[in-house]
Amino acid sequence: MTAARTLVSPSQLRTPGGKTVYVIVFVCTFALFTLAFLFPLYWAVTGAMKSPAELAATPATIVPREWHPESFSEAWDQMDLGKYFLNTVVVAGGAWLVQLAVDVPAAFALSKLRPKFGNVVLGLMLVTLMLPAAALLVPTYVTVTDLPLLHLNLINSPAAIWLPAAANAFNIYLLKRFFDQIPDELIEAARLDGAGPVRTLWTIILPISRPILAVVSILTIVAAWKDFIWPLLVFPDTGKQTLSVMLQRVAIDMPLNLLVAGMVLASVPMIVLFLVFQRQILAGLTAGSIKG
């Protein structure tokens, strides 16, 4: 394996001393990372399976003395987790679909149709990225309670999450940048074949844009699943809340083992998503870091 040259020189690494140091550093880092990042997760999963008495005892046990995997099903029933999972799926899935339906055509129009004032529109969208999200919390909340012109109240409706989420300048920017790289010749060929813009978007652009669509989709779904403050504000009706808001609400009254079990269950979809879509998630991460 020829690794890229880094800080430590290969010749240094090849000496016996270098090898020893490398092994020591590697083992320490491995242990530290496991302890810092995986052990807490282990602690939560096993903690959920301890009996309430064992969970409250000091000192804590590393391996449960008795295993109670039934806490998971008990937590599911007691917290009505099925309902809250469904709520969260509706919120995240809807945010995803609305986002794609709104942002993809917009990015396509800005990238390939280049209408008059297109740059102004894009600029106005990008400006919103400079604003700290917190600065818009209250006015957006006030807007959602009484939509301008329409006078609809979106409180307790998932649309209160879907629509503001679609106003995502970052995703439009990512999509536009990808569309910009698609050669104009390809689109012109489609035009000569008699395809209109919508057809071209659907049959030519979307199929070759799968990588960026995957990145944007994942970013949106993960963000919607993790969000807390906005769902907290727009779902005062406890039956409509998402998992995060519900867990926070019941945290004080719930027996600890059941609460921890509920927390573990609420995290499973995100962990699975990460394990499956690692590449897209990490690609989105570095796409997010401004390239110089």
Partner: protein, 321 residues
């Protein structure tokens, strides 16, 4: 196959000259081109209209509304009334206002020390390690995937002075336990740990990506010039990643100034108001006291503070470049 000079590649629909037609006069051709351009723009704006509506309603309008609200009193029954700077005066008179800013700056300061240094060290370290790279990436990023409420509740339980994980660990090695969230001196720092743990995955991996773009020849050349490891770190690694470091530093400051979930879920602002942050106070004004005017004034102050800071930061760092 070059696109026409009009700039638009998509001259829909295809305009092919038809045989047997008399040549169009220049005026007619101009009118045809104008019509075509109109149609193109119409198509483009049709595709854009959904985005324009959501941006107008949930982004651009709230920006304006937020500024207006800062100078209004709103009770949702009567129409809003103009109150000038009353909202700001009320904020300044609130003893918690200063406390909240002080706490937030404290949080941001600590979060930078940890959230900036730890990920950088981790990234440099990971960049050197040749084995189990996928594992390291996975481990460091897992916490980022957890819903922040889960992270906060989980750590609240870890911090429990009795059977909590941390005090159990401390006791196991013969050290006395700490008060963690229950003492006003350590509570804020405890929140910083949570936030660092939860977010360092993304920072670390962004740094790592930046480190991997450094050409190996630079290190080789430095080595040939007799530069040891520390000097290579200082003269190659740092300058080569400076842009990413500076940008992330700014983004982190802006993000940590808006800390909310950890104090809201873990301490509720206590003990003794030691973890009341700007956003927590803003939340209280809006959704506990129902004073949307003052809450908006708070947002405006936060926005101005961060805006001024960002502008200064960009200016200063540009001079450094």
């Amino acid at each position: 196959m070059s696109s026409p000079r009009s700039g638009n590649v998509l001259d829909w629909p295809a305009v092919t000259p038809r045989a047997g037609r008399p040549a169009a006069s220049p005026a007619e051709r101009r009118r045809a081109r104008l019509k075509r351009r109109l149609r193109e723009n119409l198509t483009a704006y049709t595709l854009l209209c959904a985005a324009l509506v959501v941006f107008a309603m949930f982004s651009w309008y709230p920006i304006v509304r937020g500024v207006l609200l800062s100078f209004q009193q709103v009770d949702f029954v009567n129409p809003p009334t103009w109150v000038g700077f009353d909202n700001f005066v009320r904020l300044f008179a609130d003893p918690l206002f200063g406390v909240a800013w002080r706490n937030t700056l404290l949080f941001t300061g600590f979060a930078l020390v940890f959230g900036f240094l730890v990920p950088f060290v981790a990234a440099v370290l990971l960049n050197e390690l040749r084995h189990a790279r996928a594992y390291f990436r996975l481990a460091v990023y897992l916490p980022v995937m957890l819903p922040p409420v889960v992270t906060a509740l989980m750590w609240k339980w870890f911090y429990d002075p009795g059977p909590g994980l941390f005090n159990s660990a401390l006791n196991a090695v013969g050290l006395p336990g700490l008060q963690w969230l229950d003492s006003s001196t350590t509570a804020m720092l405890s929140l910083v740990f949570v936030s660092t743990w939860a977010n360092m995955g993304s920072t670390t991996l962004i740094y790592l990506a930046a480190l991997q773009t450094i050409p190996g020849e630079l290190y080789e050349a430095a080595e040939l010039d007799g530069a040891g490891m520390w000097r290579r770190l200082r003269h190659v690694t740092f300058p080569q990643t400076r842009f990413v470091l500076l940008v992330l530093l700014l983004l982190q400051i802006v993000a940590t100034m808006q800390v909310f979930t950890e104090p809201y879920v873990m301490t509720g602002g206590g003990p003794d108001d030691s973890t009341v942050t700007v956003l927590l106070l803003l939340y209280r004004y809006a959704f506990v006291y129902n004073d949307f005017g003052s809450a908006s004034a708070m947002s405006l102050l936060l926005f101005v503070a961060l805006g001024v800071f960002s502008a200064m930061y960009v200016r200063l760092t540009r001079r450094v470049e």
